[in-house]
Amino acid sequence: MSRIFFITHDGESHEAALADGQSLMHIATRNGVPGIDGDCGGVCACGTCHVIVDSAWTHAIQAINSEEAQMLSMTPERQANSRLACQIKVSSAMDGFTVHLPEFQM
């Protein structure tokens, strides 16, 4: 089974089964990963599914667009690899994909 890893701010690892074609936010909320809210339901409008993509994996995902960058600019916890999980579409080639969670969601 292909898997995805979410590392919390405290270093705790949560894994979830990879579901081809789904958004990372949906995978996280469906698997009860703590620290990802997804209040707007996945349309890049609330900023509460902020993740920091592990530097080994930044090449594997689509580039950020201006709408997503603007939402992310509103969180004081933004880092260089910050993304919104709802804007990351997971593919079967991403077995082992790893993201880190910020201490707080905005």
Binding site: D39, G41, V43, C46, F104, Q105
Partner: protein, 462 residues
């Protein structure tokens, strides 16, 4: 910039703000005396007919008594079902579109390229001389810069520092409440707690904290903007007083920092430390606007959710029983309270160019009102949307915080305050019984309560 604008800016920067407000007040007095059309609208409460007896085209949800008379649910339901993007050409506030379905509201809220938040986010326009500027009513990029300067004050990291203090204050207020006798929940709990919170965020003199509530109430209640009952003269006097206090606070802070005092985490200090806002006091309308925004944002909203939660649990006693059996439901209940109450009913936008929205042609310049209070009761999004269900699965999807770049900056503070309130209430009291129907604010914007009599029963030691 035009020469005249430069002169105005220069004048604004050099004449004390409170004198400017007084000048504008005098001008308004003269104008209103001379021109009947310049007078504030006066709203007289009449019984609102059942929505079934009104032609679709005549529905006017800007009526400031719609919430008080409990007619809003049926009115918005009809709009959602029959005219989800509805035009009302003859309101007191001018023509406006109502957007009432969840999906459509989300689409408008996200799209600041098509729908501008400028110049103002309530239905009517501000009276001349009080057209303060606030970032909630600015588009990017100016919005983003100003918001970034202040959002740290309510960012979760700062809140973590404040959680202990908030809890102490909640405990103090609850420990002094009368038990087994009637009292007004709004005054003793909701207003008191939000006033203390605002004073903390602003580092405002604690003993003067009720001034913040008073200013905020007036700012949100002018007849021309929200259909409220505030008196224009009283409002001008209050705004001048607010300007004087905040300016003094600003200069006091600056002097203390210059003398080497360690910076605090309060709002004024944050503004002074950010490059884009360190000279904000020299742009008085922006300075006043942004402070007014933060006190209104932190006042009416959380206060009325504090009252609304008690009311909701009284209307749905099975949910109260469920909560007492499982206090771990508090965080989800907090979201459900904020959905059920929707303390601010809408935000207004203006179309930036001709556009289509759910089949309706909207012209450049038209006012477009996103009725969050309706989206939060949209059956297309929430099952049994009118019911209060504390373990509702998608309660967090509520629209009360808005979506997109203007999403409520204080969302986590609001959730924190409400969570702590309910944690502390459940450890102390077995029942909070609402004794009579609450009194409801006259407004088309604030879904608020002015009075709600309750009686507490102390929890028996187990």
């Amino acid at each position: 910039m035009k020469a005249i604008d430069q002169i105005i800016q220069k004048a604004q920067a050099t004449i004390p703000i409170d004198l400017q407000i007084r000048g504008a007040h005098l001008y308004q007095k003269v104008k209103r005396a001379a021109l009947p059309s310049a007078r504030s609208p006066v709203f007289i409460e009449r019984k609102i007919p059942d929505v079934a007896d009104v032609a679709l085209a005549d529905i006017d949800v800007s009526n400031p008594f719609l919430f008080r008379q409990g007619q809003w649910q049926s009115y918005f339901q009809r709009l959602r079902d029959e005219a989800p993007v509805h035009y009302q050409p003859h309101s007191v506030f001018g023509p406006f579109w109502s957007v009432t379905r969840y999906e459509d509201i989300l689409a408008v809220d996200k799209d600041h390229e098509r729908f501008s938040a400028e110049p103002f986010i309530v239905l009517g326009d501000a009276p001349e001389g009080l057209s303060v500027e606030m970032f909630i009513a600015m588009d990017p990029p100016k919005h983003d810069i100003q918001r970034q300067a202040v959002q740290g004050v309510v960012a979760p990291k700062n809140l973590k520092e404040m959680e202990g203090l908030i809890r102490q204050r909640v405990q103090d207020v609850l420990d002094h409440l009368p038990v087994d006798q009637p009292f007004d929940w709004v005054e003793r709990v909701s207003v008191e707690l939000t006033a203390r919170m605002l004073a903390t965020l602003l580092d405002f003199p604690y003993e003067l904290r009720h001034k913040l509530v008073y200013w905020s109430d007036l700012a949100a209640a002018s007849p021309e903007t929200t259909g409220g009952s505030a008196d224009m003269d009283e409002t001008f006097v209050a705004v001048a007083d607010m300007a004087r206090h905040f300016t003094a606070l600003w200069h006091d802070k600056a002097a203390r920092s210059a003398a080497g005092e360690a910076p605090g985490y309060d709002l004024i200090t944050l503004l002074q430390m950010s490059e884009s806002t360190q000279d904000l006091v020299e742009r008085p309308m922006e300075f006043l606007g942004n402070l007014a925004l933060l006190i209104v944002g932190g006042n009416d909203t959380t206060r009325n959710s504090m009252t609304g939660g008690v009311l909701a649990l009284n209307r749905y006693p099975d949910q109260f029983a469920k909560l007492k059996a499982d206090p771990k439901l508090i965080p989800n209940m907090v979201s459900e309270i904020i959905r059920w109450q929707t303390p601010l009913a809408y935000m207004r936008r203006v179309a930036k160019h001709d556009t289509m929205l759910n089949g309706q042609f909207i012209r450049k310049g038209d006012k477009v009102v996103m009725w969050y209070v309706s989206g939060n009761r949209d059956e297309r999004q929430f099952e049994h949307a009118n019911d209060f269900i504390i373990d509702r699965e998608n309660a967090r999807n509520h629209m009360s915080f808005g979506f997109g770049v203007h999403r409520c900056m204080g969302n986590r503070l609001a959730e924190l305050q409400l969570r702590i309130l309910w944690e502390e209430l459940l450890t102390r009291f077995d029942d909070i019984r609402v004794l009579s129907e609450p009194e409801i604010v006259q407004s088309n914007f604030v879904r608020g309560y002015t009075k709600m009599m309750v009686q507490l029963t102390r929890k028996q030691a187990t």
